[in-house]
Amino acid sequence: MLDPTNTHVVHEWKHGRPLIACSFDPQGRYLLTSSEDYSLQRWSLASGEAVKWEAHDSWVMDLACLPDGEMFLSAGCDDRVILWPNAEGTPAPIREIHAHKGWVRSVDVSPDGTLFATGGNDHLVKVWSVAEGRTVLELSGHDSHVYSVKFHPSGTWLLSGDLSGKILQWEVASGKLLRTLDAADLHSFNSGQKVHYGGVRDIAISPDLKQLACCGLHKATNPLGAVNEPLTVLFDWETGEKQRTQPTDGVRGVAWKIEYLASGEILTASGGAGGGFLIFGKPAEEKTYHKLKLKDTLRDMCLHPDGLQVATAHHDGHVRISRLAADG
């Protein structure tokens, strides 16, 4: 039974080199991870054993599985997206796509599995056909690096967030830009260091479809020195109005990932100078209410299809699986 206050680590598996991204397959059989050694890993949840292979010419920033669990996508800093089979043994690429000019920072698959979306350093959002690998839509509207893309659970809309804190909502059928949500709380320009910093690191939609949450950082008094704190920004889906920001006291870092739990509560994963944390919040509250410090700082998090397990990818080269309950 879901009980965030009793969250605890149940598995710790070692890859050995710093990890970057992670994603469960929808059937809950595997965990996919990427690492700074340019490899991908597919971990069996049953055994904790991993198959490892070299995939891209650079780091893989994001991973996403198709709904049937048969294939998954990796988005690299080498401009490419690769489609892989989720079969036994070492996978061979099904299709390689030169997707963007510069990093492909984010990839997400449509709920029906026919499309996937990518966001890149070329300020573009693109929608692709899974079956053919061709571009269906090329969406211009961002003025900075696109950090996150997320299909609405209905499949009707696509959301994309960028470095400047802008979230754009697109109509998937037409490619039309419908509205812009202002998450500028997640961006800062430091005039002393002359750097833009922050961005919409991830986007999530509540189970009741009434709220949009995004995450990143704020209080960036020293961007180059990692002095900043994680922050969640919540919007009313219907009106697009910002409802509130939800800070976490006593944590230094970046909220890299955000997920709604089945209960409607919000889980963010923060990594940075303060270490790695799983942070829990309630949609109507001003601050998060619970946090669990993990052994090492983290860079990504994903929620298991059962809604009770969470995987985190850590700098110390470990995958950690935590259970959001007292049991197990």
Binding site: R17, P18, E36, D37, Y38, D57, S58, W59, C77, D78, W103, N121, H145, G192, Q193, K194, V195, H196, Y197, P223, L224, G225, A226, G271, G272, A273, D296, T297, R299, H315, D316
Partner: protein
Amino acid sequence: MKCDYACQSVDHQMARRDFLGTLAGGFVVGGLGALTSPLAAAHLKREQMRVLVVFMSGGLSQLESWDPKPKTDTGGPFRAIPTAVPGMHISELLPQTALHMDKLALIRSINTRNGDHSKGRHQMERGRNQMPGQDFPHLGAVVAKSLERSDNPLPGHIRVPGGGRGSDAAYLGPRYNSIGVNGQPPANSARAGSLSEQADQARNDFRRRLNDRFMQQRRTAETDVYLQSYEQALQLMERRDVFDVEKEPAKEHERYGDSEFGKHCLMSRRLLEHGIPFVQVSHSNYDTHNENFNFHLEQLGEFDRGFSALIGDLHERGMLESTLVVVMSEFGRTPRINARFGRDHWGNAWSVCVGGARIQPGAIIGKTNENGTAVVDREVNHGDLFHTYLSAVGLDSSDSFDIGGRSQPLADPAHVPIHELLS
């Protein structure tokens, strides 16, 4: 080489007469062909030598710039790209600079044994280690004193961006301290509207008469500074447009990029064209302990556009052969990538980019190992680099200044230039 050009030596006066007679006191790039006297031409060529330093404040990562190590445990996410020099690869973050590498050179084997910002800046700008109680002049002051032209009223040592007067000339005296400018004419450099030109002239003549009388009886270093400041201010007022980057057409601003750094590069071209011997442009900030890759992506995008436009212009205008260009930092960054996707301070194996003047175009000096953790060939340090810079603009780096009867070496006598880098 005579460093004390204030000595009014015969050869200096001769060249100045030739120069003024031929060019009417103006600075003309590529004007050597107009001179028939080889002696005067040689002298003028030396007088035209200039230095541009681009200081990458905070510590540029050599792995994201001049010495990439893709697909190694230290390499990070960026790839290496080919350049205009066969076999030379630099980071993909510098695509426009890559096209100009046949005009530039790389030194990839620097070991300054230091990871402190202040000490590193001192090493790189002065060619010596910071020592308590010792003060050495900035490269800009050494160059300004060595290459100044008495017919050019502009200051010889400029910082962009910045304000006010630096205190970086040490024993060379306040005349060679840097002046900071920001892309506009220096503040308060226009004659007040309420003051006519004649009244201003009369006022300055009166001030000079009083100064001369006072100086005959009570001259001190302080009064020299006072006098120098006034005279330099007057000269600046007369040439204030040189500092006004807005005088450049819009298409030039576009080429250099819509950033402060782009504007500063354009301004530095303007200053070098007007015969200022030393210009240092700073670009901030590379002290990327956190999110090194995002910040280098952001910063080097600005750098690549402005710097490549500047190198292209210096080359096309025939100025590169008389302008030494140095891209330096206080140190490099650690091969090890930390937990926050950052790189930390690292002085043990890093790079600078140089070009122009007597630098061999397309050269690569030294080498680091496979993952950039150590120098494996032709280790050099800040002392060697300082000698090399001076040699590249035709100075004898083993020479000395005569400062009040005391000999002060231009560069640390314990080091020598990187001879194989010089043509």
